[in-house]
C-alpha cells in the first residue's frame, strides 16, 4: 500500500513538472508572439513617420516657393503708390529697412529667413544697416538662425527715395533685386 502511494506521488510530481514545462513553453511562445507584433507595429509606425517627415519638408518647400512669388505684394514689402513706376513685384527698399528692425514680425511669415539682394552691380556682399544704408547690397529682413536652409528666390524691382545733393530735390531710384525666402531642411 505504502509502495503504491509513493509511486503515485512520484508520478503526480512528474506530471506536474511536465505541465509546468508546457506552461513555461507556452508563456515563452506568447511573449515571443507579443514581441513580434510590437516590433511589427513599431516598424509600421517608423515607416509612417518617416513619410510624415518627408511630406512636412515638401510642404515647407512648397510654402517657400509660393510665398516668395507673392511676398513682394504684401503690404510690408510693396511699393504701394509711393513710386512713379512702382507696380506689382515692386519692393519699397526704405520700408524693408524699417521692417528689418521690427521684432514684432519675427514669427509673422512661417519661413526660416527672408533676404533681399541687389543683383547689379555684383560687388562684395555688404549687409545693410542703419549706418551704411543705402551703400550696401544685402538686406537680411529676418532669420531664425538655422544653417540647414534652402533658398527660393524671385526677381523684384527694388525702389527707394534718393536726393540730388545740388538741388535738394528727391527722386525715385529703382534697381533689380532678388527676394530670397529660405526653409529649414530636416536633419
Amino acid at each position: 500500500m505504502k509502495k503504491t502511494k509513493t509511486r503515485s506521488a512520484s508520478c503526480f510530481k512528474m506530471n506536474n513538472k511536465k505541465s509546468q514545462m508546457k506552461i513555461q513553453q507556452m508563456a515563452f511562445m506568447l511573449v515571443a508572439v507579443t514581441l513580434f507584433f510590437v516590433l511589427v507595429g513599431l516598424f509600421v509606425l517608423g515607416i509612417g513617420f518617416s513619410g510624415l517627415k518627408q511630406s512636412s519638408e515638401t510642404l515647407e518647400k512648397e510654402n517657400a516657393v509660393l510665398l516668395v512669388s507673392e511676398l513682394a505684394n504684401s503690404p510690408e514689402f510693396s511699393c504701394g503708390e509711393v513710386y512713379k513706376y512702382g507696380d506689382s513685384y515692386c519692393v519699397d527698399e526704405d520700408k524693408v529697412m524699417a521692417l528689418k528692425n521690427m521684432d514684432e514680425y519675427s514669427n509673422f511669415w512661417d519661413v526660416n529667413s527672408i533676404e533681399i539682394r541687389k543683383v547689379y552691380p555684383s560687388e562684395n556682399e555688404i549687409e545693410c544697416s542703419k549706418e551704411n544704408y543705402p551703400d550696401c547690397n544685402v538686406i537680411k529682413v529676418y532669420s531664425r538662425g538655422s544653417n540647414q536652409e534652402i533658398f527660393k528666390s524671385s526677381f523684384i524691382s527694388l525702389c527707394r527715395k534718393e536726393k540730388v545733393l545740388e538741388t535738394g530735390e528727391n527722386y525715385d531710384k529703382c534697381e533689380i533685386g532678388k527676394l530670397l525666402v529660405s526653409y529649414e531642411v530636416q536633419k
Binding site: 505541465s19 507584433f37 509612417g48 520700408k95 524699417a98 514684432e104 514669427n107
Partner: protein
Amino acid sequence: MLKKGYLQISFGWIFAIVVGIVILFLAIFLASKLINIGETKVDSSTAKEIEVLLNPLETSFGEEKTTSFIMPSEARINNKCDNFGNFGTQGISVSQKTFGKYSNTNIDISFENKYIFSDEFIEGKKFYLNSKPLNLPFKIADMIFITSKKYCFLDFPEEIEKDIPLQENIIIEEGKCSEEDVKVCFSDEDGCDIYVNYAQGYVEKNKEKVYFSENLLYGAIFSKPDIYECQTKRIMQRASQLYILNYNKAYLIQEKCQSNLNEELLSFSNDLKNYEKSEDLENIVITSNIINEKNKNEECKLF
C-alpha cells in the same frame, strides 16, 4: 471519475485562452490607435496643405483671386481665430469623414499672416476660395473667404454687382436659386438667412448685427459673427503695426524726404490697436481717409 464533470479543460488551455484574449484585445487596441494616428496625420497634413494653398491668394493692386479645391472625401474645415500677441493667430484643422463619422482632430495648424472669413466649420467635398484686399487707405491684408454652401444674392445694389465673387456657388440670378441655398437679401424680405443693410453698413445674421466697410461686406456675409469680429480685430492689429512701420520709414528717410504725417501715423496706430468691435469701423475709415488726403498732398508720399 464521475465527479470530474463533463468538460475537461486542462490548465494549459485555460491559460492559453486567457492570454490569447489579452493579446487579441491588445492588438485591436493598438490597431485602433494606429488608425487614429493615421487619421490625425492625414488631417494635419491636409490642414498644412490648405495653408500653403492660401499663399497664391495674395492680391496685387485692386485685384481679387478665386480658386477652389476638392477633397478626396467629405471633410470639415474648422476655422479658429484669436487676438493674442501682435497679430493674433489664424488656426485651421481638418476632419475627414470615415465610416460616416468625422475624425476627431485636435492638432491645429496656426499662422499669423492670413485671415480666413468663414463659418466656424465648413463642410463638404468642394471648397471655394476667394480673396479680396482691405485698404485703409493702403492695402492692409487680404481677406480670404472659404465657402462650400450655395449662396443666393437677392436685390443687391447695382454698384456691388462687379465685386460679388464670380464663383460656381454664388448665384446672382433669382430664378436659379433653390430652397436649400443660403439667401442673402439686400432688402426686407421674408425667408432670408442673411440681411444686408447696405446704406447703414451692417449685416444681420442669426439675429446678430455686424458692421462693415467696403470689402468687409463679404466677410460679414460668409462668416460667423464671432469669427468676423475676431478677424476684423486681427486685421486692425496688423494695420496698427503697418502704421508704425510707415512711421519708422518716415524717420529713416527724413534726411532725404521729409514727411509731416508722423504724429497722425502714431496716433492712428494707437486707435487701431484699441479697436474692439466692428461698430468702431466707421471712425477708423473716416480717419484713414483724412490721412490718405494728407499723404496725397505730401511732397514725399509714404504709402
